[in-house]
Amino acid sequence: MNRILLVLFIFCVPLAMHSQTFSVSGTVTEADTNMPLPGVNIIVKNTSNGVVTDFDGNYTIEGVSTGDILVFTYLGFAPQDIVLGNQRQINVSLEPDSQALDEIVVIGYGSQLRREITGSVSTVGDETIDQLKPVNAAQALQGTTSGVNVTPQSGAPGAQSNIRIRGVSTNGDNTPLIILDGFQYNGGLTSINPQDIETITVLKDAQAAIYGTIASNGVILITTKAGKRNQTTRISYEGYTGIQETTRKLPVLNATEYALLLNESYANAGQALPFPNVSGLGSGTDWQDEVFDQTTINSHNLSVSGGAEKINYAFSGSHLYQEGIVAPDKANYRRNTAKLSLDAELMDNLKVSTKLFYTYSKSRGINNFGLGSVLFNAANIAPTISTDQDNLDGTINLGNEVVNPLTQIENTFNSNIVNQLSGTFQATLDYAKNLSLQGRIGFNTSNTKTRDFSPIYNFGTGKIYTRTDNSVTLGKINDNDYTFDLFNTYKNTFDENHDVTFTAGMTVFKQFGEGLYGSRTGVQANSWEFADLNTATGTGEDQTNSSYAYDLRLSFFGRLQYAYKKKYLVSAMFRRDSSTKFGPNNRVVYFPSVTAGWVISEEGFFGESGFIDFLKLRGSYGVMGNDRIGDFLYLSLLNGEATYVLGPDQALVNGNALGALPNPDVKWEEAKKFDVGLDMTFLNDKFDFTADYFINNRDNLLIPNIPVSGIYGTGAPGASSPTVNAGSVRNKGLELSLSYKETFNENFSMNASYNISTLDNEVTEVNGTDFIEGGGFGVGQLAPARMEVGKPIGYFYGYKTDGIFQTPEEVASHPSQSALGAVAQPGDIRYVDINGDGVIDANDRTDIGNPIPNLTMGFNLGLNYKDFDFSVYAYASTGNDIVRNFERDQPNVNRLNYRLDRWTGAGTSNSVPRVTTAATANSVFSDFFVEDGSFARIQTVTLGYTVPLTFSEKTGIERLRIYGKVDNVYTFTEYSGYDPTASTGAPIGGGIDNGFYPLPRTYIIGVNLSF
């Protein structure tokens, strides 16, 4: 506890000097490297007498006497107490601090020691990011933090990830707030160079309430690396190169199997066989082999950091190039970033800090998700077709969507370029004793340029990709926002026992932008080379469409933190927001929250030395908002349809009419978050255990287009019902994490951590309508997912199956299934008459699956032996279902090999229906298409070797590490599709696999080098 007191003491008390009897001097070094350590605070305990080491680690402290205790403290190192005897020269070497409890954690508009935190807060440090080396920083959260679920939107290069903190709480936007070095960051995590990140902090409960109306999806605070004061310039290079490949191919039929199965399906419908002679077909084309490639990824990152007495800096630049594992020439991602960080102490009480981030990214892509994607075509096209057959006329009819995927790739041309500049300028003024004022402005500005070219090409008659004219489409989008913060912090200790911190301030946020789009046919030479509006000669649509977004928010906030004897910790937060998003009747909102903690291990009764070193019980409750709702839902706009026919020529005339019915009461979604938690370290701090139980209620969910009476005119062309706050969702769960850290000897150390999170999601209210539907299955089918009271949000809604009809008698004794599209026959799927009304129809649909995993866990292990380091990261997710929706329901497409186990006569199969080209009801959305989406994945295995210093010193190299790493090593799952993480991330309609682009497995070798 003394350490904490001292740290606080040093921060709080202006330095002063008094004369005493003698002086002591010496050098402070870093224990690991024996390098001098500048900037170390040395203070005589219980006095205000203190000094700081100079550039060479030297210090001299005057006026000390025998028996005084010198306390050496330096951030990130364990403090040392030295009792003065008669020495006049004291050299000290400081050990790095392994005490996680003393790490400083940012909590929004301030920071706190981990041991004093009273909310549920997880952090991921640069060590983890360094080991994982993710392309997207979001991946560093997967499996490493309890209660956080990260699913990539696709395995395509440059894809974003969906991050869900403590589940899916809304039918709207579930994306957490990202705060980068203090300002709201809207660029998405892919645009941040992960190697610039020092820590990622996740605020999971009411701790986030200081962010008010933007906090309810949880807050991710990213702190980037800065230089250190009084540090010699350090130059680091990190680079890696790797090979990527697909982890899986779908088990589809080869040409002979396909032809035989197709013959059978034609025969079953009484039609002529399409392949009267199957001999000689062989295995045909393996389309997946044709589209998947082994491709490369490489990354370079150069950073420079250092500092002088009053200034510290860090610069970095990075380059990443990643190819897709499908069509690397047409689908790839390039990201160049530059970062500048500069902190300066302009005066004793005035510090400024500035950070600038520049990102250039260029991505090109192929159609990669859903009906008509390259992988969808590869899985569905007939294996009897040869790869060079571009026009499918005259071959077997595969419907209008399925085309040769290689031809599709050849005819794909696009590029998406984003130039983004973000930054912050901050100033802190300690203007009076215990008081500091901080002002900062942060901004994002990005320019996106998209270009898309569709050439003239004949994929076959009726194919949706066939074009008889080409077209080029350009888009230019400009997005801007800024955040301005001004806040005051008062920090003081009264009577030694009462620590008070009070923060109050304001934030202004403004967002605006516009877009310009145009398209035109008649591109010169039918070539990407000339794909520009300027030279295209045809007709254009949407030549000057422009869009505009506008969002303003004004916030005031306050936070009072109080600790009594470091034992009883309380904080209360209050935020007032007003926002353009809210209706005039609800423009202003107040969000209160409170957190409290009790450090039991500080109590007298707890005893001095025991099994438990630290034990804290904490709880929090708070109200937060989600302002990610539609714009101007409260305004009555004339954007309805008003078109009539007037005049002698019967010409169309356009007028104005009201659009969606406004809701002047529209307001934020409201999250009420309750959390109780326990933090504990035991066995000499080797084990660190955290447990949390939470209940999050999200109320006032916005239900779009809610049914209202027709008298309001919502039936008019272009009009619609209002969006009303009318739903609630509850998430509750338990999160446990345990970590272990042990240094056995100077050659061997290890660390391990395990976390497990449960999640129980339930919709508790949907007013004004019975349910909300979403998602899509097959073509022209009823919506497969619903939000409905008593069920998890987005649960799957379809028919329940009961095996396969084996005999005509079974069919006859079962309720008629003809309403589903065809009269059943033996070999067809038998559906359950859920409502018992004697017919199977749309009213017999029911709950057939839950897209939300109810258990997720992560496991990390790190070993260091001599100069070798080894780490493994793994995670698992269980309990969710996934819908197999990548099989085109068309008679002649290729099939997955499970179809070989089809029903062919009584007793042959009770799970896979017969094949036939005749109409059946077998392809309606039922649990036949719902699979268990549970999986466990070994995410990363790394083996590194640090070249011994004796060797590197000769070359001036401070550190040289080479490593090999494998990402996405192996996935244990029973799911039949490419990847069990497949999901659009949609709250209603997620968990439906339309042909997910699998995450690549990557083999990497890399080097870390610093001078």
Partner: protein
């Protein structure tokens, strides 16, 4: 060096930042969007809003086809006995409060009322010459939609001062029919006082259209003298004549494109096929959705295009015409004869004897071959002749007879219509004359959606329409969800 800052300076700083950033900071209008709060500040705004009110007229195709199906004139038809279930139910007079198609009639006509009310409640927004004409048109349109609603549903909620606003469904009761009609009369009287006799544009409303509609409303109220006054005013305006009686006009073309907005047209709903449409928003179509739905299934041959085979005239309706009545072959297409004559081919759908195939089609509103946009079944350009001069003459004749007026005058009006159809004069009087008028009205107006309501208002529906029971079926059920939205403010119509 240190910056010195005392609390006063800080207070001033903080105060300044607060003042400059009050909550009005977040009061913004969406850029480049037209917002209701700044609308009706120019003449264009009124004109544009009026286009919006006219637009809803196109959705009244639903009233026409379903009104016809409800009557004894036609079967529902379609592909099967369950194709467009709501129509099939109405055909059998088995409608319940759960009927999507009746809900459409409710929603779309109220949408028209709202759009017209939007203009009228903002009539003081901006002054310009010609505003009274626009307000007159808006009043006419509101009356037109309200008249449809009262015909279909009986008592309805009304709010003459303006639009219904969210929440009022639980506080505004359904007004008795008399009050609804008084509201309609007031709107039409205002329209008559403000409308020009010559409409500003083809397709817009004239003073005579308002007079004709007011006369019709009076007729529904059994106010025969008032009705006769308005209807004879239209006749005496000398603006109209029966098509086919002058110049090179040919009666056979009355429902062809060439006669649209012609001399017989008092009020006509305008349609075009130049814009595409889809099933997701039928009311958004600029075409006449009824026409595609009425087309012959799988038709291939001259003159017509294929359609969905709904609204099929019955044998009895076909036989109601005498052989020498020119109207029969203009009104009904006898597909077997036509196919034999032209070698056209076609399919039949719904085989149900009570609701299905008859061999007859509603020729007045069959799709003609034309270059309309997709979905071609939804974008047929046939205008709907909402108020024809023949209708005015027959209504006038009826009003005069029932109001004990000059029977000679009434007979004259009736005989004008009969002569045009190639029929001889009637000489009847009294109730026989009235029956003659009723019979001729059925034949003249067949296929145009009036028959059911004519039967109801003259108490002849029971016994004529299979399955009809009075008083229950005099009106249709209020959609169930509307009853639920009203939370007890509205009662369901008796018997439903």
């Amino acid at each position: 060096m240190k910056i010195k800052l005392n609390n006063t300076v800080l207070g001033i700083l903080a105060g300044f930042s607060l003042i400059s950033c009050g909550d009005d900071f977040v009061e913004v209008q969406p850029p480049y969007q037209i917002s209701s709060s700044t609308y009706f500040t120019s003449e264009d705004d009124y004109n544009n809003a009026l286009v919006g009110a006219y637009d809803v007229l196109q959705s009244t195709y639903a009233n026409v086809i379903l009104g016809e199906i409800a009557s004894d004139n036609t079967h529902a038809g379609g592909e099967s006995a369950t194709d467009v279930v709501g129509w099939q139910q109405v055909d059998k007079m088995e409608q319940t409060p759960i009927n999507d198609n009746l809900d459409d009639v409710w929603d779309w006509n109220f949408a028209g009322v709202q759009r017209a009310s939007y203009i009228l409640e903002n009539q003081d927004g901006f002054d310009f010459a010609g505003k009274s004409q626009i307000l007159g048109e808006a009043s006419f349109l509101r009356a037109y939609f309200n008249f449809e609603l009262v015909k279909w549903f009986g008592p309805i909620p009304i709010k003459p001062e303006g639009q219904f606003v969210l929440g009022e469904v639980t506080s505004i009761p359904r007004s008795p029919e008399a009050e609804v009609y008084a509201y309609i009369e007031n709107d039409l009287k205002f329209a008559i006082a403000n409308l020009a006799s010559t409409a500003p544009q083809v397709g817009r409303v004239s003073k005579e259209a308002a007079q004709a509609l007011l006369g019709k409303a009076y007729l529904y109220e059994d106010k025969f003298n008032d009705a006769a006054t308005q209807l004879t005013a239209v006749i005496n305006s000398d603006k109209y004549h029966l098509y086919g009686t002058e110049g090179d006009e040919d009666y056979a073309n009355l429902f062809e494109y060439s006669a649209e907005n012609g001399p017989e047209s008092v009020f006509e709903v305008q349609y075009t096929g130049t814009e595409g449409a889809g099933f997701e928003c039928l009311q958004c179509s600029e075409g006449n959705v009824m026409v595609g739905f009425s087309g012959v299934r799988g038709y291939s041959g001259p003159v017509f295009e294929a359609g969905y085979g709904f609204n099929l005239p019955t044998q009895e309706a076909y036989d109601a015409f005498s052989d020498n009545d020119l109207r029969r072959d203009v009104t009904v297409l006898n597909i077997e004869e036509w196919a034999a004559e032209t070698s056209a081919s076609y399919n039949t759908g719904n085989p149900d004897p009570n609701t299905g195939h008859t061999g007859f089609y509603n020729r007045k509103y069959l799709p003609r071959q034309n270059e309309n946009q997709g979905d071609a079944n939804l974008t047929q350009p046939n205008n709907y002749r909402a108020i024809r001069y023949a209708d005015v003459l027959l209504m006038a004749a009826e009003a005069i007879v029932r109001g004990n007026g000059n029977e000679g005058q009434a007979r004259g009006y009736l005989n004008q219509v009969r002569n045009r159809a190639g029929l001889e004069n009637v000489t009847s009087s009294g109730n026989t004359l009235l029956d003659d008028i009723y019979q001729d009205r059925r034949l003249e107006m067949m296929g145009e959606g009036h028959r059911f309501f004519d039967l109801v208002r003259t108490d002849r529906a029971a016994g004529t329409i299979a399955g009809f029971t009075a008083p229950k079926n005099n009106v249709f059920p209020i959609p169930l969800e509307e009853i639920q939205f009203s939370q007890g403010t509205w009662d369901q119509n008796t018997g439903y």
